[in-house]
Amino acid sequence: MTVKQVKLVLEDQTEFLGQSFGADRPAAGEVVFNTGMVGYPETLTDPSYRGQLLALTYPLVGNYGVPGPERDEHGIPLHFESGQIQISGLLVCEYSQHYSHFDALQSLGQWLADAGIPAVTGIDTRALTRRLREKGTMLGKIVSADDEVPFFDPRTRDMVSLVSPKEISELGAPRKEAPTVVLLDCGCKGSIARSIVKRGIHVVRVPYDHYFLDLDYDGLLISNGPGDPQMCAATIRHVEHALAVGKPILGICLGHQILALAGGAETYKLKFGHRSQNQPCVAYEENGNGKPALSKRCVITSQNHGYAVRADRMGNDWRPWFQNANDGTIEGIRHRSKPFWGVQFHPEAKPGPTDTAWIFDEFTRAVKEGRR
């Protein structure tokens, strides 16, 4: 087997040498790293990664192959977070050509090749991660001696428009029997939709910029998605209206940022983001004088975001809900009196720990109660 030498070039001109697997073509995007040790099929298909070259810090990738494209009864892919690979390129230390798993349909390399996504093995991903950690997220490109591309900055594009559905669709329990949740799909992971549907909810999935307020709904779920939340101006406006309506709202990841923006907060770009399955988030509780204070309760969460909420300008109606135990960033907000919640992490997991799945219980309970 001939191995093609390729390299990752960062915008600061640092180079990382490796060998090509997956599709044999160049690619450019924003270089990010994820420290999760399992779950590459889920991660690669997460629409929040659109426009990014993803480095996995766990060195061995591909061990258990890639499962098939089967979908559940609601049409949601069983093993993937969307219908396609979303990343622009993959960077790993050691691609495991041989794989072993009862569920595997094909190798990771084959899957990537079929989808036209290039990948590089042999990268010193630890050195790369250290570089990104020190200098912040950078643009990068996968190139070879005979194939060049220019850098591409996803921040210049409305990435959400690329991953949000064009049409409205419905899924889950029949409308007549169940409360309805509008899913504002900014690039929604399948598992978020499934988390709601399996709690007996009728879901109306709408494009991210759709004016949903004329729909008959009992709750609003704002999904995750790629890029800068401030790009979603229309969505933020619509959510502002929804806040006035007062029905239960849950925002996840990008959805949380959109909710916060609609509530008057600001967002900002993190130096290198949180992309991992081990982020500790400490819950707030109310202290004696009704002020929020950090409790001793901490949850382990799965995360994938490059932007964060600055909550200090949110006004009195909002409370911080979770704080990142490592860097003190805001990981969740909730309204003082109304059923509005936003979490920066992923309660649906996939990949990652399932500790916070109860947030869906809390949300759907509020939705059901509101309907009654």
């Binding site: 810090t57 230390c93 010193d124 250290r130 990652g352 720990p353």
Partner: protein, 1061 residues
């Protein structure tokens, strides 16, 4: 929770199979955590070789048995507010449960810190455990006790075939087996019920994956999984016997988190506070799982997980036991984040068990559901291949890696694969080499294909290297091979070059390793960590290098003969170096140690102790020099090579170390010094061996250089035995010479541990053995100061020691073993390095010999002991701990090969008191009501006559086998005669042991020879299998009877170490 001012920590006592150095590590961490909280700490642990029983950790230390009666006395005196039971293995846990049961804890108001007693009981009692997990619909393996063939068949019908039929309370699982259908079970059950009353029918989880999660939970119900691990061997091989990887390699996100979620659910339901592990079986064909067990305490795997992730589990668990929340504890690696997180690894860890089965006669080499390994190694790499090959080299069993092992051969590969032994992984590699397909190997071994594919890649790489061999290896292949964990020696073997050639070629190509950090967060946060490993996958170092540190090489895997004592030596060396303001670098790879705790040194390389790796580290760090004399024989062996390669070896010159190590040069040295030694010769044929044995007279000690089976050394009392041994057990030829030396009968053995500066002794201690020569010094009972050694002998010993030190210009620690008989002393051997007994003499004398030695080595001021060991007002006795119970079939006798796995030491006002406490610490139980005597040949029968009389005087009932009973009767000593086991008559020796009608078995073997008569073997084995204490040494038995007569049990003193002055 009440506030804790004083806490009591129970240690795990002597190292044994299944309970080893990991508990020194966890206990030490717990004590550090308590100290940090300002809590006064009391420690009970008779394991003298541990760090936790060293000065500067616990506030008070008791070298007494970890038994309820003794612990109660301590509680009464010290009045602790809380007790920690989770840091001393099963020993501490059992003792704690018993204290609770007896109401001791309640009586003195001692709170159990960490997992509550009810939780511990839920995890320890199988029925309660299953019931508790049933409450939350968590699956456990199905198991049904049956009492008849019909019942067994019925149970199997419900559970399904194939099933496992396990004979309850059998001698080492004899008669158990897998039944694939009704006929097979019927046959097995019929046979089994002839001997047993109960047969367990269990679900057989054939080929299921075995996994483990380490969980931490605080009292605020925060619960995290710190690490998961996957066994390479499938279910059926004890996790202590399996090779293990961390994190798991073949699980998908669904599987990984399904098991994680279950773990949290179970741990919360059981109410564990602190650390615990949960073990799973997982079907390779779907998401079915079974929870095998939960250990609500620190364990071997928690030590491994701590080292694998950098997350200090024991330290954190101790803090949680005090009521802290996980969010209040810092991540001690990053120092920037908190302890409430789950480490993200960016490397792979491989753990490999180290066995020493060859040291035992009669033990099967097959591995299975019982643990037999005595130690383990852990390796770190960026790929499985890299870590695997490192790990196999770290074992120091002669393997060069997974492949290219010219010395490891198999007669029947197929059967080796189907019935795994301690060499299983090499068999897999060789099967692939010989053309067996990956599928076939997986089918037979049930090892997951992912692992086998990786081995197949290594086999393929060897082929590629062979093809390039005639030319010089090109850079891409060189790099690929190094990245796959090939050592220079392996590449040399594959390419027909020398190791030096490969090294030179590699240097020319610029293929050298990179130093990477273990930082718990996969580089996501900056970490000030000093915890490093080397890898060939990379393009930059994580750290910078500053010259001038002192590098200490650790002891590697614990094995019989090299254990926690060398860890103690290395840690103390580092401590002294730091006091002297040297920066320290530690190299070691044993996850059960304190020396691999990254806060014990300035930089830790969790790496191989091979010449190649040491040279690479040396090249990067450019240290002031290497200290090779503290980690036992493994580093000591590197002295000459390192010096020849231009590295600076600190302490005694490698040239002189070699003069002592080499039998010939050392022998001529002794001759020039006029120091006698037992006559010996190196011989290359049977005839020469016979002739020499005749010349010096039997018995002789035989030391072959190539062993075919069984132990490496033996004593032959006559020509027949010599012939037998050389025929069956050893090869003898010009390539494999045999060393024969005169074995001196009835001699005393004496150990000298000393430190010398430029050839002048600056500290020394003499310990005498209770057992006569012929028992390996590691298995002997040591007494300090000597009680029965003549002054004249002591004077001679001092002279000889001084002579030897001077002629070898020793600069640092050393040890000499002497034989003494009729005021004549002979030198058996000299080790120019710290020895096994350094912690013992240091703690008994209360003068740290390693501290002195380190100062000597560095040329810095030191203070010699203020008083001589002869002036002590108390006596220290060190006793061996055996693990024969774990080694099915092994003959539990003492001989020239070391067999003990650990040791304890107790202090007393005199020998008898210290001796009895030491014996109790290693499992002897007193008072005795009845003793079984079988005292061997007529000389030893006669020698034990007084002993037997003493036992009778104490009112102890005697049972005896034929000859012994007759001998006793002739001397008017009453005993009950028992029949020999093989006679198959009623009232046999085995029967009284089985029914535990005797409290002690004294069985003196007929010869030094290990292959003992079957009857005696059966008696000894039964004693071990039915947990009846056993003595097989005449001197030991004699001294015991004397001690028992002089000291009633209630006069054994429970005193602090600090009170012995």
């Amino acid at each position: 929770m009440k506030s804790i001012a004083t806490a009591l920590v129970l240690g795990s006592s002597a190292l044994k199979i299944g309970e080893a150095g990991e508990f020194d590590y966890s206990g030490s961490q717990a004590i550090k955590a308590l100290q940090q909280e300002g809590i006064r700490t009391i420690l009970i642990n008779p394991n003298v070789a541990t760090i936790q029983t060293s000065e500067g950790l616990a506030d008070e230390i008791y070298f007494i048995p970890v038994k309820p009666e003794f612990v109660e006395t301590v509680i009464e005196r010290e009045r602790p507010d809380g007790i920690l039971l989770g840091f001393g293995g099963q020993t501490a846990l059992n003792c704690g449960l018993e204290l609770a049961r007896r109401g001791v804890l309640k009586k003195y108001g001692v709170e159990v810190l960490g997992a509550p007693i009810a939780t511990i009981e839920d995890t320890e009692d199988r029925e309660r455990f299953v019931a508790r997990l049933d409450e939350i619909q968590v699956d456990t393996p199905r198991s049904e006790p049956t009492t008849s063939v019909e019942q067994a068949l019925e149970a199997a019908e419900a559970i399904g075939y194939p099933c496992m039929a396990r004979v309850a309370y059998a001698l080492g699982g004899l008669g158990s087996g897998i039944c694939r259908d009704k006929e097979a079970l019927e046959e097995l059950a019929t046979r089994a019920f002839a001997h047993t009353d109960q047969l367990l029918i269990e679900e057989y989880l054939e080929g299921w994956k075995e996994l483990e999660y380490e969980i931490v939970r605080d009292r605020y119900d925060n619960c995290i999984t710190v690490c998961n691990m996957e066994n390479i061997n499938p279910m059926g091989i004890h996790t202590g016997e399996s090779m293990v990887v961390a994190p798991s390699q073949t699980l998908s996100d669904d599987e990984y988190h399904q098991l994680r979620e279950l773990a949290l659910k179970v741990v919360r339901h059981l109410g564990v506070v602190g650390e615990c592990n949960i073990q799973y079986a997982l079907s390779p064909k779907g998401n079915a799982y079974r929870v095998i067990e939960v250990n609500a305490r620190l364990s071997r795997s928690s030590a491994l997980a701590s080292k694998a992730t950098g997350y200090p589990l024991a330290f954190v668990a101790a803090k949680l036991a005090l009521g802290k929340s996980l969010t209040e504890i810092d991540n001690s690696v990053t120092k920037a984040t908190c302890a409430c997180f789950e480490p993200a690894l960016d490397y792979i860890v491989v753990k490999a068990p180290r066995w020493d089965l060859k040291k035992f006669q009669g033990v099967s080499e097959q591995i299975g559901s019982a643990m037999k390994s005595v130690g383990e190694v852990m390796s770190i790499g960026r790929t499985f291949e890299e870590a695997l090959q490192k790990a196999l080299r770290m074992l120091e069993i002669g393997a060069k890696g997974a492949v290219c092992n010219d010395g490891i051969t198999f007669d029947d590969l197929q059967s080796e694969l189907a019935n795994p032994t301690d060499r299983n992984i090499f068999a897999v590699a060789q099967a692939l080499e010989q053309g067996m397909s990956v599928e076939q190997v997986c089918e037979i071994t049930r090892i997951d294909r992912w692992f086998v594919d990786k081995l197949a890649r290594l086999v393929e790489l060897v082929q590629q290297l062979k093809r390039q061999g005639s030319k010089t290896v090109a850079k891409p292949l060189m790099l690929e091979a190094k990245q796959a964990g090939f050592s220079d020696a392996q590449i040399a073997l594959a390419t027909g070059k020398s190791e030096a050639d490969v090294f030179a070629r590699r240097q020319k190509l610029g293929v050298t390793p990179w130093a990477k950090q273990i930082d718990t967060l996969a580089a996501e946060y900056p970490a000030a960590t000093n915890y490093l490993y080397l890898t060939y996958h990379g393009q930059e170092h994580d750290v910078g290098f500053e010259q001038g540190a002192v590098t200490i090489l650790g002891p590697g895997a614990y094995r019989i003969g090299s254990s926690v004592e060398f860890d103690w030596c290395c840690v103390n060396t580092a401590k002294t170096l730091r006091t002297l303001n040297y920066r320290t670098i530690m190299v070691n790879h044993n996850p059960e140690t304190v020396s691999t705790d990254y806060d014990e040194c300035d930089r830790l390389y969790f790496e191989e102790l091979s010449f190649e790796t040491v040279r690479e580290i040396y090249a990067l760090e450019k240290p002031l020099g290497l200290i090779l004399s503290m980690g036992g024989q493994i580093p000591n062996n590197l002295a000459v090579r390192c010096a020849d390669a231009g590295m600076r070896v600190l302490g005694t010159s490698p040239k002189d170390v070699d003069r002592a190590e080499n039998r010939n040069t050392f022998s001529s040295l002794l001759e020039t010094l006029n120091v006698p030694q037992p006559p010996w010769r190196e011989l290359t044929s049977f005839q020469q061996a016979y002739d020499f044995a005749q010349e010096v007279g039997f018995p002789v000690l035989v030391r072959p250089s190539y062993v075919l089976s069984g132990a490496a050394m033996a004593v032959a009392v006559d020509e027949t035995q010599l012939a037998d041994f050389l025929d069956k057990a050893a090869e003898i030829s010009p390539d494999y010479p045999v060393v024969i030396s005169k074995f001196v009968d009835n001699a005393k053995e004496i150990d000298v541990d000393a430190v010398s500066q430029d050839g002048e002794i600056v500290a020394w201690a003499v310990s005498e053995h209770v057992e006569n020569a012929g028992v390996h010094s590691g298995d002997a009972t040591l007494v300090l100061p000597p009680q029965r050694t003549y002054l004249e002998t002591m004077r001679r010993i001092r002279q000889v020691t001084a002579h030897v030190a001077r002629s070898l210009s020793i600069n640092g620690p050393f040890n000499i073993q002497f034989l003494a008989k009729n005021n004549q002393v002979m030198v058996i051997e000299c080790n120019v390095r710290a020895s096994r007994s350094f912690p013992f003499v240091s703690k008994v004398l209360k003068k740290n010999f390693i501290d002195i030695a380190t100062r000597v080595i560095m040329g810095r001021p030191f203070s010699s002991p203020e008083r001589s060991f002869l002036d002590l007002d108390y006596v220290g006795v060190k006793a061996p701990q055996f693990s024969f119970t774990r080694l099915e079939g092994a003959d539990p006798t003492l001989g020239v090969e070391m067999a003990s796995t650990g040791e304890v030491a107790c202090l007393g006002i005199d020998f008898d008191e210290a001796f009895l406490k030491a014996l109790i610490s290693v499992g002897f139980r007193f008072p005795l009501k009845s003793v079984l005597l079988s005292t061997g040949p007529i000389e030893s029968k006669a020698a034990f006559l007084n002993g037997a009389k003493r036992l009778r005087r104490l009112g102890i009932e005697l049972y005896a086998t034929g000859g012994t009973a007759e001998f006793l009767a002739r001397n008017d000593i009453e005993s009950t005669v028992l029949s020999w086991p093989l006679d198959e008559k009623p009232n046999s020796a085995i029967d009284v042991i089985k029914k535990r009608q005797v409290d002690l078995v004294i069985n003196i073997p007929k010869h030094y020879q290990k292959e003992e008569l079957a009857n005696d073997y059966l008696i000894r084995r039964a004693a071990v299998d039915f947990d009846v204490p056993l003595l097989t040494n005449l001197q030991l038995a004699q001294r015991l009877t004397e001690a028992l007569e002089r000291i009633p049990m209630d006069q054994l003193k429970v005193r602090r170490w600090s009170s012995y002055e």
